[in-house]
Symmetry: C2
Subunit: 701 residues, 2 copies
């Protein structure tokens, strides 16, 4: 990537001096942005533009070229790449659209591009993108004309599957005095994709925050693995989340829709922060330009009582505390007041203080308290230059000075101090201040929550994986091989055996062909027993009367046997066998499983049975391998957790037994990745300390 972002020489292909030519805009951008390398141009006609000579072929350029930027009709891009290859160019950016995002048949041209690049050992970006802007060296290759002032150099790197969204997001943070390092637009990402740039920016010293706008991902698992390694905050805006959008995204960047629940779970597990629009990204960029929020304790300071209440509501929403403040501190603050008729606590309502310096001193005192982790300040504004014009509340003092003092204070105290301006009299241009400004305490508290959560993630101890579990791998292999020999794609009883090998408790079922063997088996394991149909064609066994529970003697077993057979005949279920299984003691049904996602591969799944999974779709996912701590997080994440904790005097249930099952499933799928899916449904979990048991399971190969 370094060669792509820091070329010493560049050629722009597709330039002419005609008015409507977009290629020459790229030259203009390179000149405006004061690109530090050499610039060459290629077009169909010899000539010159902005004093740069236009060659008819890249082969004519009398210099070594590090990077080619191509803006030419789709049908000729392949031959241009060929020439670039011959010229020895190793990096290219293809801006042109009109590929597979426009019509399916263009896939052929795309495949040709991929092959040619391979042949010449070339990496390329695009097609159908806006290329890159490197604010450090002036490499600016989008074809709309850009203004350098809007891209001050900074430490945010942006990876965007839409050129305009990428550029706009950089513009929005620049308005908050947050500069950009690189912006890359990846378009149809035939060769270079988000994963390549992500790896690069995670290592890059100039990048402190990474923002991604994505419409799809190429390889979810790789994406996850890379994010997980990052110690820098990664903010993701992922669109194309509805069936309605999939056609639109397809014709924008040929992007396919993925399961958003799994995407969401995966990036959360990897520590990335998902935002739902660019405003939320800007909020994150602002807060992550400050020290982390290292705990839960906030002090709100505002001269607006209303904002104190609103701020407090939002602290409650985000589960922050507002600790009481020492009375010595409050008494000192009270002295700054005028009428002294406002009750001081936390929030500190400074509506009575008409002196910006006194407010600064208040903030400073608060920031020195050990138990306070962050400050939410909402202020009126009075700029120095305007003090004479209006007799503002802060006449004689000025908030401008205060803001720059606060900038130093947030660094010195190593605590985030968020400032929002109650701007009644003046338009505030955030660009004038070094400190980012928040629109209100609502935004500030939300931002502090993101910072706190990311800090907690960074400091979370990595859970121990179940590597030391002793498993008879040979035994499992034997079961799988036997199944393979029989051509089975679906394992029922064998699934229970495999779980058993991993120490996941199962209530082993016995398949019986006739009532005599059933009675024998029942007497062996002891009553009460359950009888169920054993058929791969029946998904919901009880719906067709294929399940009888709590059978307590031979006589009842005979009756049950007959009844099920009658039921099945009535519902014209094809040939079947019956299963005898010991009844387990009472507990709660939960569902554990491993799903296979086309993008992320194996995914561990958990949910509480019944209404929670079936009606509320209340399930949670994590990517393996997972630790016991991860498993516990999964269990606590679902709404059904309340049931397991115990509701109305019932419970608690054995949550550790579920954790145990989940980590063992994770180990199992790690050992045998040839298994596609595992479904433990139901796993009955007993009361706390009593364990649990798999009642039914299946494995799909």
């Amino acid at each position: 990537m370094d060669k792509l972002l820091n070329p010493k020489s560049i050629v722009v292909i597709g330039v002419s001096s005609r008015e409507e030519n977009l290629g020459k805009n790229i030259l203009k951008n390179l000149i405006n942005f004061e690109f530090t390398g050499k610039i060459y141009a290629v077009g169909t006609k010899n000539g010159s533009v902005f004093g740069i000579r236009i060659y008819e072929s890249v082969l004519d350029v009398p210099d070594k070229i590090d990077l080619a930027v191509i803006l030419a009709p789709a049908r000729i891009v392949s031959s241009i790449i060929e020439n670039c290859g011959k010229k020895g160019i190793k990096r290219a950016i293809i801006l042109s659209g009109g590929f597979s995002e426009y019509e399916e048949e263009k896939k052929e041209i795309e495949n040709e591009l991929i092959k040619k690049a391979e042949r010449y050992n070339m990496r390329f970006l695009g097609p159908n993108c806006q290329g890159v802007i490197n604010a450090r060296n002036g490499l600016c290759v989008p074809f709309p004309v850009m203004n350098k002032e809007n891209f001050p150099p900074g430490h945010v790197s942006i990876i965007a599957q839409s050129g305009n969204v990428g550029i706009l997001s950089a513009y929005l943070i620049s308005k908050q005095n947050i500069g950009v390092n690189n912006i890359v637009s990846i378009g149809n990402k035939l060769n270079i994709d988000e994963v390549d740039f992500l790896s690069y920016f995670i290592r890059d010293n100039e990048t402190k925050l990474i923002f991604l706008y994505l419409e799809n991902i190429r390889n979810g698992r790789k994406f996850y693995d890379i994010i997980r390694k990052s110690k820098k905050p990664i903010i993701i805006l992922k669109s194309n989340i509805s069936p309605l959008s999939s056609n639109v995204a397809m014709s924008h960047t040929a992007a396919l829709t993925t399961d958003d629940r799994i995407f969401d779970a995966a990036i959360k597990q990897a520590g990335a922060i998902r935002v739902k629009d660019l405003d939320e990204f800007v909020t994150c960029a602002k807060i992550f330009s400050m020290p982390y929020m290292q705990g839960n304790n906030i002090v709100i300071i505002s001269p607006s009582g209303g904002y104190c209440v609103i701020g407090t509501d939002n602290c409650a929403i985000h589960k922050f505390n507002l600790p009481s403040l020492p009375s010595t501190l409050l008494n000192e603050v009270k002295k700054y007041g005028k009428a002294k008729v406002i009750k001081l606590s936390n929030p500190i309502d400074v509506g009575d203080i008409y002196d910006a310096n006194a407010i600064y001193k208040t903030v400073k005192k608060v920031s020195e308290l050990d138990n306070i982790n962050g400050i939410v300040l909402s202020m009126f504004f009075s700029p120095k230059k305007e003090i004479d014009r209006f007799d503002t509340p802060f006449a004689g003092h000025d908030t401008e000075v205060m803001i720059s003092q606060l900038k130093k204070l947030t660094e010195k105290s190593n605590k985030p101090i968020t400032v929002s301006i109650i701007s009644v009299v003046y338009d505030i241009d955030n660009k004038d201040y070094e400190l980012p400004l928040f629109s209100s305490p609502v935004e500030a508290v939300k931002a502090l929550a993101a910072s706190r959560d990311y800090f907690a993630y960074l400091n979370k101890k990595e859970g121990k994986l179940l590597n030391d579990l002793k498993v008879d791998l040979g035994g499992v292999e034997g079961v799988l091989k036997a199944a393979k020999k029989e051509g089975k794609a679906y394992l029922g009883r064998e699934a229970m055996e495999i779980l058993n090998y991993y120490g996941i408790p199962v209530e082993m079922p016995e398949i019986s062909t006739d009532i005599q063997s059933a009675i024998g088996y029942a007497n062996n394991i002891g009553y009460p027993v359950a009888v169920k149909i054993h058929s791969e064609n029946v998904l919901h066994k009880s719906d067709i009367g294929g399940v009888m529970l709590n059978i307590s003697n031979d006589e009842e077993l005979r009756t049950a046997y007959k009844k099920i057979k009658d039921n099945l005949r009535a519902s014209s279920t094809p040939s079947f066998q019956l299963i005898i299984q010991k009844m387990v003691k009472e507990g709660k049904e939960v569902i554990l499983g491993v799903k296979y996602d086309n993008n992320f591969g194996h995914v561990i799944m958990f949910g509480v049975g019944g209404i929670f999974v079936e009606v509320l779709e209340d399930i949670t996912f994590k990517l393996p391998p997972i630790s016991r701590e991860d498993a516990l997080e999964m269990i606590k994440e679902v709404k059904g957790f309340k049931i397991l904790e115990g509701a109305r005097g019932d419970g608690p249930y054995d949550i550790l037994a579920i954790c145990d099952g989940i980590v063992k499933l994770s180990k199992l799928i790690g050992d045998f990745p040839q298994i596609k899916e595992i479904d433990i449904n139901p796993f009955i979990v007993f009361k706390e300390g009593m364990g649990g048991k798999t009642i039914d399971a299946r494995i799909i190969l």
Copy 2:
């Protein structure tokens, strides 16, 4: 209110020429805002400020005064009000703080104020507020100095329990070219409150949109009734929603916390729009300055493919459709394109069109389609004056002209056309354009959803109330009287009788004192029966083994009787009786009820029994009286509705029977408002068409 907002003469009390005096700021504001009435000043010392004479007493002012504005220490406000009364002043605004919001003991002064105002037939605003700003006549009485430019006259009226929040919200919309009519700050609202202003602004011809910032409400039911009558959109930001906030709000405007779920349900039922911050208010102000969104069909138009995808995601989130567009239209649009390599559909990706006029024509054509209700346009920007400086995509055309054309188009087409600007090169000052601008398609689609929903509310047919139900009111009265005589505050079996009078089906329980009478009754009603403990001290009867179900003969009944007695002895439950009740057929448990809220009075409640109510707190509220349509809305609102509709082949259940029960409860509480609460728990609803039955109920008087 008119006298308060449109006085012909005003006196400001608390003025001096000292530098730190805030009273003189009020005079300055009145002068700056060019107040159309006469201005007088009163202070402790004779003198003058800004050429206005300061009298020592209001009684000295040689003119009739319509309105007094008081900014003086809390302890002397009462005597000032006395003098104002003597002077014959009928309206006052008390700005001073330091009342009950500061310390509980100040309640006394407040009570004195209330009494004095009554004696002199005076209405007053405050104390502890910022008073009013009337942008039409220049009445501007807050004590911070204001800038007239920030309050252009318009049609939004603002009622705020926090002066600064009210002023700030006016300022924010003025940046979007939306003017304000009146801003009123109500503070501790001892005499005039939100309800007074709300009634006034609903009638006021200059007000087209009302915004309220509230920390509490004085009389929820009155508030609800007034909002319900409004045909103007009412936007509400309600803070003080968490226990954490209640102390803060108390010391801000002496506001008590109310049950937010009921507040939320009530204002939704009344058609108000609740926002969670000022940004959302601004979004509403923007969209309600345009024609309503009269349906579900949107067209998205943008040169950014990324914004097309993001816009589509948000249409899916807000349940909008993106209808296909006629190919004739798309073909015409395609002609405007340059490279013609973008697939056109809906969204229309105009990334290939470099002509603002062509985009205007596209929007116009779309707006003429009968089946399209609103348009989401996201554009690049190129201002006319800057075209020469930058060679923008729209060189030779300009979006400025387009925006003013679009303003006319949205009015002519009677459809909302939302514009957001992808502002890469320029800072856009929304103040320069008549049309409000949205920050992105995300905000635009959210805004259109609010407009659609409000339009649907305005056009919703009022459901018919159950006025023609024939009830033996005398019978109900008899039951209530008998209970009163016995000193009962809680009705069990009598509750069932009362429900029966209203035609709410009940399974009548029989109280039996001995096993013989129980057996007699069971044989009378027929087995199977249930036996339950009848005790007012036991809330969850089954938890202590006080319930036995499905008893099918005399023998089982004897056993059950004994077992319950043993259980109750074991849990040392005090004296009790037993109930015999016929077992009803299988169905789903739902809960119907009437709750009493201190603020809103009677509230109808509904939820699906079991996990939904007990674990997920999945309940819904509406204020009576309610129609069958309202009841159906309630049922559909809860998550548990899925169960009633039928899940996994079970159901559907008799939803109309629940509706029937709800409307009858509503009628019952209307007829007998002396009843405090009614609890039908459970009501068993049978399969569709089979009705339902009350199994247990209680009434609290």
